[in-house]
């Protein structure tokens, strides 16, 4: 449970950061910056991170699902937690909710920063 919890938090933050960079930096630069500028090229190159996000998200989904079953979350919350990896910034809020939920229910998880 504790290992799963830690893995979940790390993956959530990595997926969240990657998604934020991809959707809030790479995407606007690629499509809104002037064609041919180095800024546009940078956005275009940065778009490779979408693939990285996709694969880490895959692991996140599996870990989050097993955690949800162990912790006995409702199906509604489980689905929000899974989909959060696809909605920019939502995952940071979800991660806080998860930490809060689990710490209330399992005080032994407390010493996680």
């Amino acid at each position: 449970m504790k290992g799963l919890f830690t893995a979940y938090r790390v993956l959530a933050i990595v997926v969240g950061v990657l998604l934020a960079v991809c959707s809030l930096v790479a995407l606007p630069l690629k499509y809104l910056a002037t064609e041919g500028t180095s800024l546009q090229q940078f956005g275009s190159d940065l778009s490779v991170l979408w693939v990285v996000h996709g694969w880490i998200f895959m692991i996140y989904v599996v870990v989050a699902f097993f955690l949800s079953r162990k912790a006995g979350w409702s199906y509604g919350f489980t689905i929000v937690a899974l989909v959060a990896g696809l909605v920019p910034l939502l995952i940071f809020w979800v991660e806080r909710q998860v930490v809060h939920k689990l710490k209330v229910e399992n005080p032994d998880l407390e010493p996680v920063a």
């Binding site: 490779v48 979408w50 693939v51 694969w55 895959m58 599996v62 699902f65 199906y75």
Partner: protein, 259 residues
């Protein structure tokens, strides 16, 4: 098993089937996009502007691997007497021959490059081989090397386009390549390129990775469904155990339901 088929589980089963099918379709779509983009890139080189033959390959050079299908501009004199036919060549699904005449690049006694003039169904129907000087555009191709044996070395038909075989017919050096004439010569239908350039290994690799990802998600959907069903059945059993004895009596041993 009968338990899992209860109507109240149907929406869950349906959702699992729909989602799994969706991931499979999306995965196939991405893999298709990956293949299409690779083919498109392979074709792209054959659509570029032609360059002079000698900028790509010299008479004694090995074939430049990156120039398969490169359009080249070549001028010279036909070596009419070296005309040959290559058997086993398809065009529009019909078996036939390529008609080939070497071209002395730049004329005189310069080395020659074999030029595929076009496709014929039968060498007997072939037009008279070209003579004189010409300037043409064609696609550069590496020679064949299938190791097929010419079963009749005395005729003008070869089973493969090999420089060592063609050189028997012309008394001069040959390039280590041949050219497929663009549009065909003397009204012959253009021969189809035997070898297209290869797309880079990383072309559209993103589509491939997305495709694989979708299949993995498909597997995950099945996993979620399995866990969900297991939990539902376990919960149902707990309810049954806690409920009236009369309700469990008509079930055949519900605790053997394997979740």
């Amino acid at each position: 098993m009968r338990e899992a088929l209860r109507p109240r589980f149907w929406p869950g089963h349906l959702l699992a089937v729909v989602l799994t099918l969706a991931t499979i379709v999306l995965g196939i779509w991405q893999i298709g996009a990956w293949q299409d983009r690779r083919e498109a890139e392979a074709r792209d080189l054959t659509q570029t502007a032609p360059v002079a033959l000698d900028d790509v390959i010299g008479p004694d050079d090995p074939f430049p691997g990156r120039s398969v299908g490169q359009p080249v501009d070549v001028a010279g004199t036909w070596l009419t007497e070296g005309t040959l036919f290559i058997s086993g060549r398809e065009h529009d699904g019909r078996d036939g021959y390529w008609m080939l005449t070497p071209l002395a690049v730049g004329g005189g006694s310069n080395p020659a490059v074999p030029v595929v003039l076009g496709w014929v169904a039968d060498p007997a129907d072939a037009p008279a081989p070209p003579t004189g000087d010409v300037q043409l555009v064609g696609w550069l191709q590496p020679p064949d090397g299938t190791g097929q044996v010419d079963d009749d070395p005395t005729d003008d038909v070869l089973p493969q386009l090999r420089v060592a075989d063609v050189i028997q017919r012309v008394d001069r050096d040959l390039y280590g390549a041949y050219v497929v004439a663009d549009g065909g010569v003397d009204g012959l239908p253009q021969a189809d390129l035997a070898q297209l350039p290869e797309a880079s290994r990383f072309t559209a690799v993103r589509n491939l990775l997305y495709g694989i990802e979708w299949f993995v998600f498909g597997g995950f959907v099945v996993l979620m469904w399995w866990r969900w069903l297991g939990e539902q059945l376990a919960a149902g059993r707990r309810r049954d155990d806690g409920g009236g004895a009369g309700e469990t009596a008509d079930e055949d041993a519900p605790d053997t339901v394997d979740a």
